[in-house]
Structures are given as C-alpha cells and as structure tokens.
Symmetry: C2
Subunit: 413 residues, 2 copies
C-alpha cells in the first residue's frame, strides 16, 4: 500500500519519498547537519534560524513569505542540537512550486546585515523566556549535565555568544555547515518520486560541501543538580542512558519504558500519581537515537512532596529490572501497534519517521516493517534485557525554592 | 467521498458519524453539558474529571484502564467550561468494544468515596501549577475578566470549593449534570453508523435526565488588569468579542483575524516581531462559538518593551478596520483551503469539528460544505464587515513584575 523510494544525489543529499494513496497533502522534512552542536560559537545556528526568514532567492522576507502563503504552505524553520531543519505541510499538488521556496531557507538565504541586530534581540528574548517556564528550564539543564559537550547544548544558544555574533561569522557558519553531506530530505503523502527528484536535482546543481567533524568531549559528572528558583512547584527531571536505535534491544527498552512511564497507565502514573497523589503529572519517555538515546522522567510536585516523588521514581526504576508481567507486555504491544497505525495516517508523522530512521539506521522502515518488528518481540526478550540492563550513571535536575538535601547515593539504582 | 450520518436518540443524545474511506482509525468525541460553568460549587466537575478515572461499570480503576489499554485505545477525560468530555482514538475495528468502556466514564463511574481525598489533592496541586506558568495565568485571568459569570470560570475550579467538596455533593453533580439532554457523540474515520447506533442505544437504555439551566450574570467590567508576579517577561493577553458561529459574518472575521494575527505571516507577526523585535512570540486567534466568540491576542516580551508591544497591537487592531488588501485576502483564502484539506485527513480533527458544528450550529458541515463557504466569501464581504465592526469593550490582562501605568483610555480602539 505504501511505497518508499530513495535517491542518493551526487552532491550527497539523500532524497526519500513515500507515496500514501488517498492522501492529498504532502509533508516535508529537510535537515542539514548545522545545529548548535556544530557551532564554534554556541548560538550561531540559533541566529540563523531567525536570519534565514529575512529573505531568500533574491526575494525580500515579505515576498518570500507571501509566495509560500499564496500556496497555502505551512512551514517551520528550527534549529536543533545536531541538525537544522525545515519542516512543512502542503497540498501535494503544490510540491513542485513549494520545494524550491522551502529549500531557499537552507540553500540560498539572503542573510542581510541589517537583519542581524533584530535577530539577536529576538534570540536573547527567547533565552529570557526560559526563566518563566521552570519545567522547561529543568529540561535544558538536564541535557547540559547529562550529555557530552557539545551535545548537551540547548537550541537557544548562549547569550554571550549570540550578543557577540557578527554577520561575517554567521554567514560563514551558513556556508560551511549548510552543506549536502549528511543532508536528508523526506516527503510523505501525495508525492511522485520522479518529480521530486527532478525538482530537487535542479535546485542543488551547485550545492557542494562536506561537514566538519564535531569532536565530543568527556561525559559530564551527571549526578544531582538543584537550580534555585522561587517557583510554586518543584520541577523534576531525570535522564538515563538508553540503547542506541541501532541495537537489537531498542524495542525491548521501548516496551519496558512504556510499561514504566506511559502517560495514563504506566507504573509511575499508577504509583506516583494515582496511588500516592504525589504529583499532578509524571511520565517517562524513551527517545532512541543514533548516539544519544535517553530516557527522561518528568514530574512536577509541591516542595513537601518532592523528595518522596524522587524516591518513588527511583524505586520504580529499580523494580523495573525484575521484569514486566505478561499482561503488561500484551497491553503495551497492542498500544504500540495502534500507535503505528495512527501515525501511518498522518503525512507529518510519516515524513518525520522516515527522516529519523534514515538518520539513525541509515535505512527507512515502512509501517509493515514496524508491525513485523513489534510482532517479533517476546516477553522473554524484554525481561532478559531488563535483567541485564545497566542504567549507568543517572542525572537528576530539579528546579525549586529549596535544597532537598538528597543523600549522595540516591541515584544508585 | 465522506458520508456524515445523524441519529437523535429518544433519550436526547445526538449520535453523529462520518465514515472516511481508507481510514483505519476512528476518533471519538463525547460531551455532556456538565462543565464547571454548570457547577453550583465551582470545581465539582474538575474533581469529577479525576474521580471518574477511579473505576467504572463495576470495575476497579486498574481493570477499567487495562481493558481500554488492551484494545490500544487512547483516551482523555477533560472538564471544560460548559462541557465535560471524553475524547479518544482507536482502531475502527475496536469501536464496538471501546464505546461501552469509554461511555462508562460518563454513564456509570464508581465515584468511590476513598478516591475523593486523593483527587482533591491532585486538583489542588494542579491549581498551584498555574503560578509557574505566567502566560497561562494571564489566559485564566483573561477569561475571568472578559466573560459573564459563570462562563469566565477556569477548568481548574476554585481551591476553596474543591477543598470543601463531599462525596455526596460530587455524586449529586454527576447524577444531575451528566444527562443525555444536550449530549453529543461524534465518531469519524473507520466507522459504520448502524453498528454505532446499535451499540450506543443499548448503552443508554436507562440514561435519562435534562440539564438545569445556567443563569449568566452581567458582563464584567473588563478593561486593564495587572497581575503582579516576579516573572522575567511580561505576559500579555487581550480578549475582544467576535461574531457568533451562527452569524453570517463569522467567516469574514476569520479571514480578517488570520490576516491580523496569523502565526508566521500576520500583521502582528510582521509589525511587532519582525519589524520592531518587540517580542519573540505574538499572535491572535479567533475562536468562534455559539455564545462566547472571542478573539484572543497573546504576546510575551520584556518589561521595557511591554508598553510599546501593547500599543502596537492596539494600533494594528485599529488599522485593521480600514480593510485588508486583495493580496492578503487571496493568500488567506488559499491558507484556509489548505488547512481544511489537512484537517480532513485527521480523524481526530474531523470528530472535533463535527462536535463543534453540531453544538454551535445545530448541524454539521462536510469538507465540501466548508470549501463552498470559503469559495463564497469575497474581499468586499470582509472589508464591509470590518468597516462596520464594533470591537466593543476590550479586556487586557498582563502578568509581570511592575505596573505599566497604562493610560485609562488605552483600550478605546
């Protein structure tokens, strides 16, 4: 039913399409390896995510934007840690016109000098806004304390680097990082592969370049970090290393963490929220990736209940190693299958999934492939994995009004 | 291509299905008129949104939840201002089993006495969490100052009412408000109408009751309200009355507000963010409804820029009355058409749209109907509407560290 096609262009760009019969929309996901982790000055790519909006292909910002709008194209430009992306949804009938307009953000932005100061101002305001969102603040700090430099950076960039940026520096980052090597373009929905390849080939005729390698540093100290803020609640975030997307046990981990932290049914929800009323929201997610797979636990609670919340989360994490039950396994498999079908009906979800697969695995998976993988896993697989699972060194960040004076060995699960 | 069917059951419940060929999922939206605005004690329905999760149809909370999970059913129970809803997505093949399990939240919850205190604790924690989200705090206060009582309430409920609730009181609210009159059930996607009607008819055999009327009070004073908080940014929210969903000019207003406040292309975005760098985020949305249609403007900025941000928003609102251009009109129409097609591919969006239409208009619209309406509007319609548009009395709430000392007539647009 679904048909996925790949084309590696000479310049290095990988083009992937999936035609979904019956769909009238097409979702697009185009990334270059130019996120903040690739920056010498942390935040230059954050600035670029603003600056590329200020004109491209010889058009003013207004003209470029109006051209996209007049085709009814939704789009977003976002700077991530490793990649810099353009994502979009449009009617499939507009792809041939839309692709060059969207590609212009990456390939041919004007990067006008007079745009730099306004963009700096917006980026600095965005950094300030983190202070008014303490749970988000905890997440940003969690990455910093958990991942090796420079992969623990946040996509907001560093204020002092942003303030010091010059137009030459930012243009240079664009020229050197926004290159076809490692670049992936996926389109899912109402799409004809040959037309896309033809349109893109014309577009990238003179696009060349390879990525500079990013040297990663040592693993940081991890452990417990308190960020003092006069907030009403205590915002708690844990990070735990997980298996890489390429490892065979990644699906066992996904099943286990779904049992552990699923939003309205997991063990954390039952034990922390429903049984003990410790907090309004608690959940855990597994984010498998190529090199920085991680399980994150988030909870928000009152200062009085914060310590117990942390203890119960860790206790449940420890109990998880004893394995999950047949019932838990069966329900989770059913849930994963339903989710797979649901995602299959969204062109946006499919474009994103193709992108992540190609990046992390070097190949893509159809819905049928994913269903087969889920069918192939057994309770025994999951429980064997959990029995031998080493959580490694954990990171805990909490934002709140007072030091919880946690025992130094609290993270030894 | 799409086929919408209606069935008014004898008890008063209105059942609507839309079969979407090719879809394998079914989204469900079931509401009863039992939101917080219908409560004598503001927050009893908030408590019910927790308490109905603690067992139903004679099953324990765990057994009920496991039954839903084992079918891979996603679900959410939410208390709104006027309605109390269960929303869900599942595989269409599970509808016949899923509907009775989901309906149990509304029709046959256990409401156990021992669940009351834990639910109170969770609801009170949820109220506390508003303090750590100042932009949300501004939105909650905006409704309070803009709408007639009791429709300006928030779905969080009032802490003192929640603290004083007894199990008898909450059970009584359930018995009297969760009734078939005014109740609407919509299902879109892989659905067979006759099967649904049969399943639901059996379920509601002994469901009876009519809603008590809700008497609304006077329009509040509106105007400017400052909420002091030691936040990093100033969080600004405006509310402006809009035409009701039933009025013929509702689409003219939708076009105008899209031109005014569209997320990455509207006049506010261009004038406030891109041209003046006044704030990182600014947008306006029109939420048409049956009786409380409203345009909301949201912006977050630094204390130094807050006053100018407010002034520019109001200035743009005033300029809007001079009309929009042919270009703006054409782009917006194209955008609305694209969005309509995009929503048509999501069973969740369709179930929600059917629900809102039935509630606000007393009838539903297919995608083709919506396209025809968009095709039927002209630039002249929009500009005539704007010329005679009376914004009425506005409300402005801002949360921030200091009083902006705004002139008393600032809201006279």
């Amino acid at each position: 039913m679904h048909s996925i096609q790949h084309q590696q262009l000479d310049c290095g760009l990988c083009v992937i399409t999936e035609s979904i019969p019956g769909s009238k929309t097409a979702a697009l996901n185009w990334g270059v390896r130019g996120g903040v982790a690739t920056n010498k000055h942390d935040g230059d790519s954050t600035l670029l995510a603003e600056l590329v909006l200020r004109g491209a292909n010889g058009m003013s910002s207004k003209k470029h934007n109006d051209a996209l709008e007049s085709l009814g194209i939704r789009k977003q430009v976002s700077c991530g840690i490793e990649f810099f992306r353009v994502t979009s949804v449009m009617l499939g009938s507009h792809l041939t016109q839309g692709i060059p307009l969207l590609g212009a953000y990456l390939l041919n932005p004007e990067l006008p000098e007079e745009g730099l100061e306004p963009c700096k101002s917006l980026c600095l305001q965005s950094i300030l806004s983190i202070d008014d969102n303490p749970s988000h603040k905890a997440s940003v700090a969690l990455n910093k304390h958990h991942f090796k430099k420079p992969f623990g950076r946040s996509s907001y960039g560093e204020a002092k680097e942003i303030a010091s940026a010059t137009i030459e520096r930012v243009r240079d980052v664009h020229a050197k990082s926004f290159v076809p090597e490692n670049s992936i373009l996926t389109i899912a929905g109402d799409v004809r592969h040959d037309e896309v390849v033809e349109t893109v080939s014309t577009l990238v005729q003179s696009w060349t370049g390879v990525n500079a390698s990013v040297v990663s540093g040592e693993t940081p100290g991890r452990g417990v970090h308190w960020i003092e803020q006069d907030s009403s609640q205590v915002h708690i975030s844990f990070a735990i290393d997980g298996p890489s997307a390429q490892e065979k046990d990644v699906l066992s981990e996904a099943v286990a963490i779904s049992v552990f932290g699923g939003a309205t049914s997991g063990r954390l929800f039952t034990q922390v929220r429903q049984r003990r009323s410790l907090c309004y929201s608690v959940s855990a997610q597994f984010a498998p990736s190529k090199e920085r797979s991680v399980i994150r636990i988030h909870a928000g609670t009152t200062p009085e209940r914060a310590k117990e919340t942390i203890e119960v989360c860790l206790e449940q994490l420890s109990i998880l190693q004893n394995g999950i039950t047949q019932d838990e396994f069966a329900r989770t498999i059913q849930r994963m299958k339903s989710r797979t079908v649901m995602h299959g009906e969204s062109t946006t979800a499919r474009a994103s999934s193709l992108w992540s697969d190609q990046y992390a695995l070097g190949k893509t998976r159809s819905l049928a492939d994913k269903m087969r993988e889920i069918d192939g896993i057994s309770l025994e697989n999951v429980n064997n994995w959990l029995k031998n699972r080493d959580y490694g060194k954990l990171t805990l960040v909490y934002v709140g009004p007072s030091d919880l004076n946690l025992p130094t060995n609290i993270l030894h699960v």
